[in-house]
Symmetry: C2
Subunit: 233 residues, 2 copies
DNA sequence: GAGTGGTCTAGACCACTCG
DNA sequence: GAGTGGTCTAGACCACTCC
């Protein structure tokens, strides 16, 4: 037992976690029912439920009605990581933030981008490339495509000194999206922008955002060498 | 409104989400209090609480006592992604899985690994390199260091045909860990193992696992070119 | 100090599954 | 069919913060 006084759902969660880690509850094994644990811990079933549900959300327990709750064979399969908002990410690291527009054109996207956007017919989109700096060093390239119908000419002017992401957040509603993490060799233009050797391995985050079933924007964030994203479980 | 009949926390969550997406609740704005929403939706405050808490967990709402609940300026900053269990990942994609041991030696880790493990003094660790295959193609290199005290000679034999990860899961308790995602240029040996060009950009996952405050193992998963990890929000 | 979200309870019914 | 987790309620008190 951790402490006899407490009976919060967090203390129940901790105790359960301790039992998993200490292998008192072994992988693959059924653990006691909610009602029994409630009695053991001297709290209501709701409290036990909340605690075990939290562990299940993190992938450390497997729960099914009637079947009961089990410790999974392969735990911790889920990691929640916070996707950085670039400006805040840079400022949090103690650097000065700045942004500069590299290019802004209306053009027909290449096929891989068209696929991400779900555009079947060839059509123009707004293609914006910008560069975010930490102090004077290039930090990440923001290569974005936006549905042209969303932005009128007055908006377009805003992109010269405002990151498209910050524009989108305040102007465009969205309902869902996907995020993908991958890596990429720097081509010559990318290397030039990021001031790194051509061919360098770069970390890439791709985000596509939809409004109902229609894609409205897709962005590729290409980070300067050495970037890594971290989380703890 | 979505449907008048329902009053589950999920329906409340959906309605709240719809209001955020439609900008009826705008970024930065205060939304109604739990009690008011409970009355509006015809459910108890607990139900509203559960729904709004779920949205807050996903980073779509910002809640503070006394201050109330707000729509954040930059939403969806959290992504939960499931870290693949290699064997299952490969099988799920419809390939045959196989594993082969590349090397197994007791040696002193290089400094970067020693740092990850938190080893201050120079000491030997068990260094295991293995290769996971999807059909006959190399899929990922598993480059792992294990605290030598954890494995005795009889265990070591098991590594010839069992992935160290699967061994660890069933033999070693742990309490916490960190996961990092990054990218890396293939050196010559890595390129040879993964059957890819030297210098190719590879996706890398590093995991370090601790038991109480002591690091027990650190692993670097180096994926063959083209790998990406995805999630939706 | 006062108001908001955070949590707990006891009880109830429901929904999903397994034997 | 029966047992387990999933959820809802009404009410209560607490803890954190903002005014």
């Amino acid at each position: 037992m951790t402490d006899e006084k407490q009976k919060s759902w967090q203390s129940v969660k901790e105790e359960a976690l301790a039992r998993i880690h200490s292998r008192r509850w072994k992988p693959g094994q059924l653990i006691p029912f909610e009602a029994d644990l409630a009695e053991e811990f001297g709290c209501s079933r709701s409290t036990v439920n909340r605690a075990l549900r939290a562990l299940a959300d993190e992938g450390l327990l497997d729960r099914r009605r009637k079947a009961g709750t089990r410790v999974p064979l392969y735990p911790a399969r889920k990691a929640t990581l916070s996707v950085p908002v670039i400006r805040e990410d840079i400022i949090a690291k103690g650097y000065d933030y700045s942004y500069s527009l590299v290019s802004l054109e209306a053009e027909v996207p290449p096929t891989d981008v068209a696929v991400r956007l779900g555009w079947t017919a060839a059509r123009q989109g707004l293609h914006i490339v910008g560069l975010h700096f930490a102090n004077t060093s290039p930090y990440v390239i923001e290569d974005r495509w936006i549905d042209q119908n969303l932005a009128d000419s007055s908006d377009v002017e805003a992109f010269s000194n405002l990151s498209p992401n910050e524009w989108l957040v305040t102007h465009v509603p969205f309902t869902a999206g996907t995020i993908a993490f991958s890596s990429l060799n720097a081509d010559t233009q990318t290397a030039r922008l990021l001031d790194c050797p051509s061919g360098a391995a770069l970390f890439v985050i791709e985000r596509t955002t939809r409004n109902n079933r229609r894609s409205i924007t897709t962005v590729r964030l290409i980070f300067a060498p050495g970037y890594q994203i971290e989380t703890s479980i």
